[in-house]
Symmetry: D2
Subunit: 267 residues, 4 copies
């Protein structure tokens, strides 16, 4: 954000992989990132770079906040249920139980990211609050037009890359006849990078390793009033740089999947 004004002056368009342009709420930004925002005017014009939710705005934007990895899974997992004021599930009591590979913590030298600490281990973290929670709730609010209630618990998985979100929502009484499988399939029918799995399927992170695809499965146990949405992605691709490329393609009028059909594994 410290360079944004200069870059824009020179007609450089910005896709920010840091978190400077993800949160419109600057008080939330200051709370979680421990610094004041350096250019709130530029922030106001920034688009949230989740193409599948925000395609038109991204295409026109000068500044993109590239989404966080957890938000990408939770927002795409919930959009077919909540966007456009839909009254299908109870938006006041959403649970997102999320699991990330160790690369999600970045390349900082931290004890918890060492092999001998993270290997053969599983833990939760961020129970006291996680910066991605603010990002998710702000976007859900924008999506539904009203405040939402989200319980979000991230966990750390002993694997390098991959992210798995298990989302639990309550189906509203009037929506019990909905064909949720069809709803999801139709919502993402034209999307190159969102794959709604056939009914009854269960995703695994390896199926999207080194790919920009986010994969969703929808389950409704015993046809009851709980809906479970399972979402997987590669946190380093669709959850980060792949999504940035997707944004760039859109901003520059290129086919959206340019450079994303076969993603190399970094050594």
């Amino acid at each position: 954000m410290s360079q944004a004004e200069q870059l824009l002056k020179h007609n450089v368009r910005i896709i920010d992989l840091a978190a400077d342009f993800r949160l419109q709420d600057t008080s939330a930004f200051e709370k979680w990132y421990k610094m004041p925002h350096a250019c709130t005017d530029i922030l106001r014009e920034a688009a949230y770079g989740l193409v599948e939710l925000n395609r038109e705005k991204v295409a026109q934007a000068r500044v993109i906040g590239n989404p966080g990895c957890y938000p990408t899974t939770v927002l795409l997992g919930l959009a077919p249920l909540l966007e456009s004021g839909k009254q299908l599930v109870d938006s006041s009591r959403i649970i997102a139980d999320c699991k990330s590979g160790v690369s999600g913590a970045g390349r900082n030298l931290a004890v918890g990211s060492m092999f001998s600490e993270a290997s053969d281990n599983f833990k939760a973290y961020g129970l006291g609050g996680h910066r991605h929670q603010a990002e998710i709730t702000e976007q859900l609010h924008a999506m539904t037009g009203k405040p939402v209630g989200l319980t979000f618990v991230p966990h750390l998985v002993p694997m390098i890359r991959g992210m798995f979100s298990t989302i639990y929502v309550d189906i509203l009484p009037d929506a019990r006849n909905t064909d949720f499988q069809a709803l999801f399939e139709q919502r993402y029918a034209g999307e190159a990078f969102v794959d709604v799995m056939p009914a009854g399927s269960v995703p695994e992170t390896r199926s999207v390793r080194a790919s920009n695809t986010l994969r969703i499965a929808v389950h409704r146990p015993d046809n009851g009033d709980k809906l479970i949405i399972l979402v997987v992605q590669d946190n380093l691709v669709k959850g980060a740089s792949g999504q940035a490329v997707q944004n760039m393609n859109l901003m520059f009028g290129l086919p959206e999947s340019t450079g994303l059909e076969q993603v190399a594994v970094l050594p």
Copy 2:
């Protein structure tokens, strides 16, 4: 179960590590284990071997059904909230998001348990129903005296041993002043193998590796109406053979922790 009658005739007391004496509901047994029960009369006298919930009955029992690994975590995670007809949380909408190391699947040769399949991967399974769900709900029913609603999703973690359950419950309006931390601490104050962590703590599976200890942390984000209970255990010890030894100690009048204070790691 095929040998139980003979064993009892010879005054041998039984601790069954298979699942033959876990479910009192024989129709559920037949549904999940695909066979009729061989000795329903013996089943009726069997005790469910979760010592912390059932100490007196275990001490007297001739036959013990040693609990499943997932049920151990979920039942001990919920008991302080639900037992004795307590009205603290909504028992009709419990969510248990559970994660197990690969040894939880046993030593069967299955493709999904091979190194090259399970390593660097995370997945859910059993969405269409898991035999442990019947075991948990039967015990929760017994605990609360009424039917409960449980959404249970197991997941597979790329580690050898360890189990982590994240349980979500709604606090009932009349119970919002409860000190849940104190409630859990008092409930398990005298228990050698249940450790309630200090407020704000987050467990990790390695902290109980090769130990019979089950560790619990209680979180209530923003002092709201959701309670999150995090439970870890070693699925091969407290979730299996360690618990069997604990049952045996109790049945034979030995100190409950005999042989369990330092558990060797099997080569």
Copy 3:
């Protein structure tokens, strides 16, 4: 081999990823693969499909024995020292200490390939003899024109893919002034898939993950009489299917790296 005759009759050229056309010595074949060879006449015309050693023969061949993974690393690690009757190192006392990821054992359901057995573990195997030893020694014999002495010990590494061979040879007295680094660089200068690292470098398997590149480093501690050659490859690409594609490209007059410049990671 049971189909080879029929295929050739129909002018189908064969690249065999099994081991049927790797060994010209049929008694060695019978010893290691426990069956008689089905078409020794076809075997005789088969080319050993290690392109970097055998380019002309491969280009003309109707039948290719695609090399084993261990032999690929050892043969390419030794060729600059031994081919064409060179007298640089003592070919009677070669040591190859080789390490393979678990996928090297194939997809057979074997106890030793299960996650809970192979993870957090390291072991040797095949000390009593390994079929790849026969393949390596036959090719070294062909390369040097005389029998060679090879001590070969394979080991199993808890990782999905990757192979690392540490090769120890004794420099002959008359060859002590050789610039071995330059020798290797010149030998492989034109090769698309063999990378000789700069002097002093040490390879790691992740640097060739999902790539058809085999990477070599040459070390001579204290400028003494031992030469250590370190070789890494992805056993599933250069050590198997990637090499088969490389052979196919050559057989059909395609550029050798067609389809091999960016190798997808299989889900």
Copy 4:
């Protein structure tokens, strides 16, 4: 070493788990540890704490240099062949190809020890020289009474703990009738913490996990002139703290295995 003089003055006996008292050759110490030795007089009286080689000296010593993890495996793997001036194998051309789990690098925050770097990867290191080489050669020199030639290559295995050394030696012509299996069995017959495996066995690191046992297998392929010694240990126990306890027991007249028969796994 900076505290040694003070401690001795107060009659405190020292078992040093750092490397200050491992090398008698202070120029080698200065080369590898980049500092002058602070108390060369105390160093001279220090015993090298490998009990199986040095039992009497350890029992009397005021100062013990607790051996490095790699040296423990190589020295115990070679002692039956080299000690007491034996002329069984060529001590001028020993090869030790060693593999260590990540905890061998200690708990320093280093990029190479991070989960996302070390996992699913295998590499060599220290080709330009490793401090343990000086320690091993000094002890081998002491053992044989003459200089030895050692090629030592350490490698990093993606597992938390465990060390595997594959040692290659040439049998001398006059020693070809030796029963090496018997030689090793007899040498270590009375040792509590060295297990010579039956002929034909192959060790794996998990078999000694969380144990003070070092396990050895001896192989002579095709009854030829190469001897291969395979050695495994837990680098955190026999290769470090367990060995320190063993030294302490001996120094204080306790049974040597006190506290070492069942070693807890640290969380």
